[in-house]
Amino acid sequence: MGRLREARRPDPNIKRRLPVRAAREEVHEIKGRKVRRRAGPPSSHTALRGLRLRAGPSGRGAAMSGESRFLGFWYVLPYVIGLLIFTGVPFVASFWLSFTDYRLMRGAEFVGLQNYADLFAADRTFIRSLNVTLAYVALTVPLKLAFALFIAVILNYKLKAIGFFRTAYYVPSILGGSIAVAVLWRYVFADTGLVNMALGVFGIEAVNWFGDPLTAMFTITLLRVWQFGSAMVIFLAALQSIDKSLYEAAAIDGASKWRVFVSITLPLLTPVIFFNLVMQMVQAFQEFNGPYVITNGGPLRATYLLPLYIYETAFKKFDMGYASAIAWVLFAIIMVLTVVAFWSSKKWVYYAGDKRS
């Protein structure tokens, strides 16, 4: 009850107008917890509240007058605490750590830019890993999106079995990140594995998939492209929300199918393409399970993605400062590319509400 009155206090305006009797009545009811079943005619202050509600600053009306304007903040508080403790502070701390020589047993020693200098000047593993990561992202993200869009367009038709196919294609996305699938991949591409056996049926010689840098990269790329289902579902939902009258108008104008796709479908899909592009990119830069289990970064570190390098530096060698520096390089790359994507989106992403139509 105390808290209730306290919450009221910030609005003296309304308290002045409240008849004492009505206020007492409400307290009584709350004690009885029969808040929604109010007997008798609504008391004057309820009507008043209703008025205030509409005029109030909240617009959506859920925050009532007489309640603290911080009420919503209490609901968001867990998030704020979590944001500070598990994201904010670690974020700043890792930036600071990247300028230190920090080993778990010894503690931190500030070394300035030494870690970064070492990374770019002397660490060939890092340069190799960086190149491999960039290649991996440049390969997987466009392939995955193109594939997702291609299948979504085929599916977006009055097919009878659309639900069945959508489910079938979505299954790998559900399972794809799991270790069990990475294990499966290892056996699919093993020397005597599924792919080589299938090739054997056609008389093609077995390939040493994990022995060659290019084919090893291919296996982990394929694992990611295989999971195109989630992006596809998003594309499909967007395709199905496109106004059919646009297509009818195009048909009357005699536009070819390709023309319709390029001039109507694609522009209307750009917001979703943009969303998928950014999300997939951020995720691809952080891929860990696939290379860790399937190729273990090899051969010749050809699939040694930066997250693997960070993991081994931080949690095997416990060289936290240096690992933080690698993480910050990775973060900087992701951030720059995301900013570029957002900045360029003004030029190529079309929003239906725009005047540009």
């Binding site: 009811e29 709350i30 929604r36 509600l53 909240s58 959506r60 009306g61 859920a62 925050a63 309640e67 919503g72 609901y75 968001v76 867990p78 998030y79 979590g82 944001l83 403790i85 598990f86 994201t87 670690p90 974020f91 701390a93 299948i151 085929i154 599916l155 196919f165 959508r166 079938a168 979505y170 299954v171 790998p172 559900i174 399972l175 990140g177 799991s178 270790i179 069990a180 294990v183 499966l184 056996y187 005597t192 049926v201 295989w226 579902v233 979703v272 969303f275 998928n276 951020v282 952080q286 399970n289 960070i310 993991y311 931080a314 949690f315 936290m320 933080s324 993480a327 990775l330 973060f331």
Partner: protein
């Protein structure tokens, strides 16, 4: 009269022309339909075959696994499951499944409760700092975990939480997955607040509105959240890998990795059998509730 006949025949010609055109169109439509089905089936088959093969191979003996790419076992055996279940550790796979459950259950409950409350706060209230906080939500959506992981580890290590499930549980009690909050906010915004307003006018407290009006309306979205969190936690590998060190606390994902590290190179059916079991919960849950997955992902994506 001849004039009308002429007209008729011209009309007939035009009709025939139109009919031919229609037939051509119909044929084209059919052809494109067949092509679509063919592409979809071929791609689907290629995609799902590895999974089919995995299931089939888990019932084969080791010699047969290497002998043909077909997936139907000639001589089905359960030896892979029996031997795999025992594992090379002192614990059976049942223990690892139990551990996975111990990680997932609290995490899902914490996530649903905290995300619902936070989303309610964002979607239905105005308060100072809301814009900045909501922007931070979007930012964390894009923030790579990789950059916060090391200090988080140091923090949990400092608190003495290493080799326990606390580092995996606690962040989710604070709405740690921004994606879910975002999804729920989007969902709430699509529901008009009329009912809530009516309840508030009748004197309901905001928490009562959340519990008795908003939560029931949010149920489908909350189920999506629970399911996604279940899947993600099921698939999570790096988290347990970093924080857990004693085998007795390993979830399935770590146990599986351990078993490929410790078993003989040719001893495949054990590991394949355990992979099938590791995938089974996700598959079952997905097929039971796929509508929520598809809706969840469509809602989060398209409106975003």
């Amino acid at each position: 009269m001849s004039q009308t006949m002429l007209d008729d025949s011209a009309a007939l010609d035009a009709d025939a022309e139109a009919a031919r055109h229609l037939a051509l169109q119909e044929r084209r439509r059919r052809l494109s339909m067949i092509l679509r089905y063919a592409v979809l089936t071929a791609v689907g088959f290629l995609m799902l075959y590895p999974l089919l093969w995995l299931i089939g191979a888990s019932f084969k003996n080791n010699a047969e696994i290497f002998s043909s790419p077909g997936f139907i076992p000639k001589d089905p055996t359960l030896s892979g499951y029996v031997k795999g279940w025992e594992t090379s550790t002192p614990y059976s796979f049942g223990r690892f499944f139990w551990n996975t459950f111990l990680i997932i259950a609290p995490k899902v409950v914490f996530t649903v409760i905290s995300c619902a409350a936070v989303a309610y706060g964002f979607a239905r209230f105005q308060f100072p700092g809301k814009r900045i906080l909501f922007a931070s939500l979007i930012a964390t959506l894009l923030l790579p975990n990789v950059v916060t992981r090391i200090p988080q580890y140091l923090l949990f290590s400092e608190m003495g939480w290493l080799d326990s499930y606390l580092p995996l549980w606690v962040p989710s009690a604070f709405a740690g997955d921004a994606f879910f909050v975002f999804m729920l906010v989007q969902f709430l915004r699509s529901i008009p607040p009329d009912m809530e307003e009516a309840a508030r006018v009748d004197g309901a407290k905001s928490w009562q509105v959340l519990l008795f009006i908003v939560a029931p309306m949010l149920t489908p979205a909350l189920i999506s959240v629970a399911l996604f969190q279940f899947m993600w936690t099921m698939n999570d590998f790096l988290g347990p890998l970093i924080y857990l060190s004693s085998v007795e606390k390993f979830p399935v994902s770590l146990a599986l990795k351990l078993s490929i590290d410790t078993s003989e190179a040719f001893d495949w059916n054990r590991i394949l059998a355990m992979s099938v079991l590791a995938l089974a919960p996700s598959l079952v849950v997905f097929f039971m509730a796929q509508k929520y997955f598809i809706e969840g992902i469509s809602a989060g994506g398209v409106k975003g």
